[in-house]
């Protein structure tokens, strides 16, 4: 089974990376480096694909962020839940798909399936590498936004289906959730769907993270920085 490199030396050396089917929750306060961390973990390495469900940034911004992180944009797809509300006429391409709003779970589910199908069929990008099943990293750049629009129970059921599908296709999922805006019940319910939790906090302008649920990786707080898609654990 395929193993996804995290790009973080301490994790990859200890556990080899993320097993296929791993779903990772990043619990982080606002204004932390959670987005950058999530994109660094989602950035496809050669032979892989990335799909980002963007609920708080336009597709163009996500693509730019991945470009800065050093990702090959040919292998990066975005399901944009923002742009369509202001530009109803915008049309889908194989790598950029649009849903009317973050409330549209029907549309999000369909676009996700369509994009995965395109990847499996080998029609996503030139220069397909031929790995099968194709390794897919998936990121939801904010569950928090989805929770603003939909009830917890509904979203839980939806994410339950989504995370299960990701396991079936042997992908890896990264989900950001703002841990300061929601109560313990919400956090605990969302955690149930995950195999690994990365907690992020900021102290004196220094980012710290703690990883739970990854065998062989100690659960201590570690200082880190993210630059150009590279996560560095600081001494």
């Amino acid at each position: 089974m395929y193993t996804y490199k995290s790009g973080i030396a301490q994790i990859d050396e200890a556990s080899g990376g993320f097993d296929a089917g791993t779903n990772i929750l990043i619990l982080a306060p606002p204004m932390s480096a959670a987005d950058q961390l999530a994109y660094a973990l989602t950035k496809p390495v050669p032979g892989e694909y990335a799909i980002v469900l963007s609920t708080n940034e336009r597709a163009a911004e996500v693509v730019d962020a991945f470009k800065v992180a050093g990702a090959d944009k040919r292998f990066t797809g975005v399901i944009d839940a923002i742009t369509k509300s202001s530009t109803p006429g915008i049309t889908d391409t194989a790598r950029l798909m649009f849903v009317s709003s973050p409330t549209d779970l029907t549309g999000i589910g369909i676009k996700f399936s369509n994009m995965v199908e395109t990847i499996f069929e080998g029609n996503f990008a030139d220069g397909e590498t031929g790995l099968f099943p194709p390794p897919i990293r998936f990121c939801v750049n904010s569950i928090s936004t989805l929770l603003m629009y939909r009830r917890l129970e509904v979203l839980y059921q939806f994410l339950h289906v989504l995370t299960a599908k990701l396991k079936k296709i042997e992908g890896v999922g990264v989900y950001i959730l703002n841990n300061e805006s929601f109560d313990e019940k919400t956090l605990s319910l969302i955690k149930q769907l995950m195999t690994c939790v990365i907690e992020v906090k900021v102290e004196q302008n220094v980012n710290l993270m703690r990883i739970r649920g990854l065998p062989g990786v100690p659960g201590d707080w570690m200082k880190f920085s993210v630059s150009k898609g590279q996560v560095t654990i600081l001494p």
């Binding site: 029907t106 369909i110 069929e121 599908k165």
Partner: protein
């Protein structure tokens, strides 16, 4: 009757949906099944029905653009006036009423007013957000109460819903909310290939078994799909002729046999668009040496056809053996007695007796060279497949 916009489905339902019905299109997450509702809407508009579309999750422009982008131009939707209640209207109600009860009352009043003013025949509801806001029962009641208040008008209600609760919700809708048609649109979601299918879970106006039919989306429409019908029979009974005559596009792999005639060495393939169904025919070789392959061919078949030569009684023991192999699969099958236009054909009663098949198995006397005969057999077999009680 109101057409679903999918001929194959209409046939199964007995020519469509009766006026005044309650219909649920239940979508499993991730399944591209939105075209079911859009096809029904498009068809209703083409028949000059007055339609109200309730879409609290999006604006009219975004909806029209989505339909255009996903399924191509639908002239009916672009040209015929449609009444919409969209996300802007829904936000207005949300801001206007603080309590859910107040919002439900206001929404119901608004829907009733629109139905009266526009003399609405069919109401199409994107149910997802309303279900979340009011719960399934109360959200459904908003529309069914309008149906009841305007009983003489026989307003038809068609709901599309993202079903996150699975069978439990379907059971509830059938048992407690008196829906007339419940169609579940599902997906295998295997890693690859992924295939979609619809299941007629419940129908109130006909005695139809729960039936699942795969579908594909092509040319902007839903095409029910029968991925495999196996055509088998003894050697030289006319299987290749049948498959090639049935198919819009077919391929035979016949080669010259040692005995002098032509024989199939692998499989004949035929692709047919029949009554809106896409069908693939697999014609097997007839010789016994290929029998070990037959269970694999029958493995995922939705139906089978046994072809025998009406002029050759020596084939019957072999045909009986093949019937036993088909019968183990418990799939609908029929027998086509080919070359029935030639002199010296066998008596059908003798054939039934020798093959040990009862009257429940259809037996057709045909000539595989006549397209009309081939079409008749196919039509009957497709009917059997869609009606078969597994």
């Amino acid at each position: 009757m109101i057409s679903t916009g999918i001929n194959g489905l209409d046939e199964m339902l007995g020519s469509g949906i009766p006026e005044g019905s309650r219909v649920l299109y239940s979508l499993e997450p991730g399944v591209d099944g939105q075209l079911f509702m859009i096809s029904t809407l498009s068809c209703a508009l083409a028949k000059k029905r007055s339609c109200l579309v309730v879409l609290p999750n999006t604006t009219v422009d975004a909806f029209r653009n989505d339909v255009l982008a996903m399924y191509g131009p639908r002239p009916d939707l672009a040209l015929v006036p449609v009444t919409f209640f969209d996300s802007v209207d829904w936000e207005r109600i949300q801001k206007g009423s603080k309590s859910p009860e107040g919002r439900a009352r206001e929404l119901q009043a608004r829907i009733r007013k629109l139905c009266r003013e526009q003399d609405v025949d069919v109401v199409f509801v994107y149910f997802d957000l309303l279900n979340e806001e009011f719960g399934t029962d109360a959200a459904t009641a908003i529309f069914t109460s309008v149906q009841e208040m305007e009983r003489e008008k026989k307003i038809t209600l068609v709901i599309e819903h993202l079903n996150l609760e699975g069978q439990q919700l379907l059971d509830h809708v059938i048992r407690d909310l008196n829906f007339d048609l419940v169609l579940a649109i599902r997906s295998s979601f295997r890693p690859f290939p992924q295939f979609n299918y619809f299941t007629i879970v419940h129908i109130s106006w006909a005695d139809l078994p729960v039936r699942s039919v795969p579908f594909i989306i092509g040319e902007g429409r839903i095409i029910p799909y029968i991925p495999r019908i196996v055509v088998t029979g003894p050697a030289s009974s006319g299987k290749s002729t049948f498959v090639l005559n049935a198919a819009d596009d077919g391929h035979s792999v016949d080669r010259r046999a040692q005995e002098g005639g032509m024989t199939t060495v692998a499989l004949d393939f035929g692709w047919i668009r029949w009554k809106d169904f896409d069908i693939t025919l697999f014609g097997t070789p007839g010789q016994e040496r290929f029998d070990s392959l037959l269970p694999s061919y029958l493995g995922h078949a939705m139906g089978a056809l046994l072809i025998i030569d009406a002029t050759n009684a020596d084939q019957l023991p072999r045909a009986r053996l093949l019937i036993e192999m088909i019968a183990r699969r418990r799939i609908p099958f029929a027998v086509a007695v080919n070359k029935s236009d030639l002199p010296g054909t066998l008596d059908p009663r003798l054939i039934r007796r020798t093959l040990a098949i009862g009257d429940e198995i259809p037996l057709y006397q045909i000539s595989a060279t006549r397209k009309s005969d081939v079409n008749f057999v196919l039509e009957s077999l497709v009917d059997s497949i869609t009606q078969f009680r597994y």
